[in-house]
Amino acid sequence: MNVSHAPVSSLSAPNEQAERALSALWTRPPGLIGWLCSTNHKDIGRRYIVTAFIFFGLAGLLAAAMRIQLAFPENHFLGPDLYNQFFTVHGTTMMFLFAVPIMEGLGLYFVPLMVGTRNAAFPRLNAFGYYAFLAGGLLLWGGLLVNAGADAGWFAYTPLSGPDYSPGHRVDIWADMITLTEISALAGAVVTLTTVFKQRAPGMSLNRIPLFVWAQVVTSFMIIFAMPAVMLVSGYLAMDRLAHVNTHFFNAAEGGDSLLYQHLFWFFGHPEVYIIFIPATGMVSMIVETFSGRRVFGYPVMVLSLIATAFIGFGLWVHHMFATPIPLLGRSFFSAASMMIAIPSGIQIFCWIITLWTGRPRLRVPLLFVCGFILLFVLGGLTGVMLASVPLDLQMHDTYFVVAHFHYVLIGGAVFPLFGALYYWFPKWTGRMLNESLGKWNFWTLFAGFNLTFFPMHILGLHGMTRRIYTYVAETGWGNLNLLATIGAGIIGVSVLLFVINVAIALGRSAFTDANPWLAPSLEWATGSPPPAYNFYNLPSVSDAEPLWHSPEEKPVVVGLSTEKREVLNTTVIDAVPEHRYELATDSIWPLALAIVVGLTMTFVIFTPWAIPAGMFFSLIVLYAWFWRGNEPKFIVEAAKPKPQISAAQTSLAAQA
């Protein structure tokens, strides 16, 4: 191995002047307006991650409030109405505003770096995706603040969510929030796929793509085929509810069908679980590889497992509906498929264990989180196999056993790898390391708090405690285990606080200069930490799957891309042979403008169907401005012009770093 801590010098600028010129070309304009106009994938990825983490904290506060309410029998901390809003907004936020966006955000930040290009494909679409996500989040939380928080569960089943049983606008807010966040997820998926298909470094054939990038590709395909279902079904729901439209998709009296809602929702909802979990497996693969110091065992099998998981993931949705009248054959098929999906996941687990076993593992904080993930995810997977069995599922349906199961797979399977990844990549974002011993405290408190909270829920479920109840009587005997779970939730809160403190302390310190502190093999570590705006001065080429472990300085570099336009190199889809050059769009205010129009449309459509034609009209105006080359509003151009003294200060700062 020939690993260095410094950026690979053949990929860096030859002199300061050249660095400054390329940096000026790719850096966003200064000031607030420049910030709003940015189309750099690193800005956008970071915004997704930070915003999603804030939503994680807010939804965690709702969870804490629910745990306080349930700590004692017949408690009066939250009333039933507020409790309904809290568990609905908690679940909705965690799924739509935290888990999916943070996984996609990490992908949008790292995929272009890992495949060795300068920016993601379709930079303006990428910027629009973030703003649409933010609009969705503001809509949902704005609703909660004015006592219009969604209250029909994160899946909003009809007929409860229909016009007869949920008057008012709480469910409308939920349905329209779905549209906004799914537009965002779909935009991110298209950006990620095109970046990976067309912008890989020369030589990065399909069998040399880092596993994290493979995971993002598989996830993006799943998003493309799953998200339309939830947009459509939430659209049906909104139309059924909207005055003057009043369709009857789910109204049994007019031939509508509530089971149709469940089918379409879970056709999205089950793949959703894998949309969250598969990127996490990508993070685990990267961390395991780096910290065991060897190539991941069974790379082709790992990739095939991801693809198999994605395919089988679309054939499981009915296992959420075992308690509805569906044909016996259907139950058997979906029961078998639900057990089968354990196979590719199991293969991955064994490959990681073999990699660690045959490597020389260094037990740093990221790897610690991965070890926690392996243990907890196996536990969650086992209860999953149990719930795949129809007779058992009928007993456990809608009990806390299910709550325990999906928190084990989602927190164990996605949040633990996510924390590992945040520790792993923090130096890449900031040029600073997070504190190791505080990190260990963070891990152990999370591990202990998590198990204390959710393990007792298995038992509570077996004892018959149902989900979504705001209180229970003392005679049930559920009090002690619930109190235990609440104490555990408090420890999780402390753990997340430790993480935030760790980040704050690290940001307060001055930057270090190691580009590759973990001696990792993938290309994101070949450039500076944090990476320059243009990512690589000379684009890298690749001749193996671990470019930084095999004489990176001796590999040919790409030269000849424009230094006047934002140009990237396009390569062939399979073998990544250089094909042509491609000019990316510049920074622009129009993505934000479009997101505002779409966000207002989805807000007003709660009240009137005329919001749709009006929204289309204004969207088309904004889109025309967007596509008309070189058409930024004058005041934006003026405001974004660099002021000479600031610009000089910035370049001297850049030179120091």
Binding site: A121, T194, P228, T247, F249, L260, H263, V559, E567, E579
Partner: protein, 206 residues
């Protein structure tokens, strides 16, 4: 530092064909839209199971007289299929950078697009049900409406490119954009063939 280099400065600065990223981006968008229509078709057949008569009986209309009208609908289908011919001529003209053909062909495409949008509104009136009558009418109105959104989007896109080629001429990037727009238009026409068959012949044959 004497690393070997791969000099890409001689590679084309833009291309017009399916190797372009925008072509791929358009393809992925069409995956999304096709999935959505497939789910709409699934909804149609799922709701069909709840009805004895499809379309449902109406007290004020004799049985079997509630099938949707074929006239405007079939005319619109034929216009859409035929519109692929001028679109294809424009598509080919982009490869030759034949500005005159592109200008005239794109203008024709905008007019045809406006024509199909107008015909679609007549189609709605031939459905014999309001959208809020029952589940059957909800799904067929949604199929027609969703496809109408694509007709509007596709026509708006063609109008933008038409304005560009008349005002600014044709360069290789915009020729590529016209061609990607053409791929979208073929899809709009193509996807309507099975949807038309389901909406208009489903009630007659199911």
């Amino acid at each position: 530092m004497n690393t070997a280099v791969i000099d890409v400065s001689k590679l084309p600065a833009a291309v017009e064909d399916h190797t372009s990223p925008i072509w791929w981006g358009n393809l992925f968008m069409l995956f999304i839209e096709t999935t959505m229509f497939a789910l709409l078709v699934g909804t149609y057949f799922y709701l069909r199971m709840n009805f004895t008569n499809w379309p449902p009986v109406r007290s004020d209309v004799a049985l079997y007289r509630t099938d949707p009208d074929l006239g405007f609908a079939t005319a619109n289908l034929l216009v859409l299929i035929a519109s692929c011919v001028p679109m294809f001529i424009v598509d080919r003209a982009c490869l030759r950078m034949d500005l005159r053909t592109v200008r005239l062909g794109m203008t024709a495409m905008v007019l045809i697009g406006l024509g199909t949008i107008a015909l679609r509104f007549f189609e709605f009136s031939g459905l014999k049900f309001r959208w809020d009558d029952n589940a059957y009418s909800a799904v067929i109105w949604t199929v027609l409406g969703m496809h109408l959104l694509h007709l509007i989007t596709g026509t708006a896109e063609n109008l933008l490119m038409t304005l560009w080629v008349w005002l600014k001429g044709l360069d290789i990037r915009h020729a590529r954009d016209v061609r990607v727009g053409a791929a979208y238009w073929y899809w709009i026409a193509g996807v309507w063939i099975p949807l038309y068959a389901i909406v208009y012949f489903g009630p007659r044959w199911l």
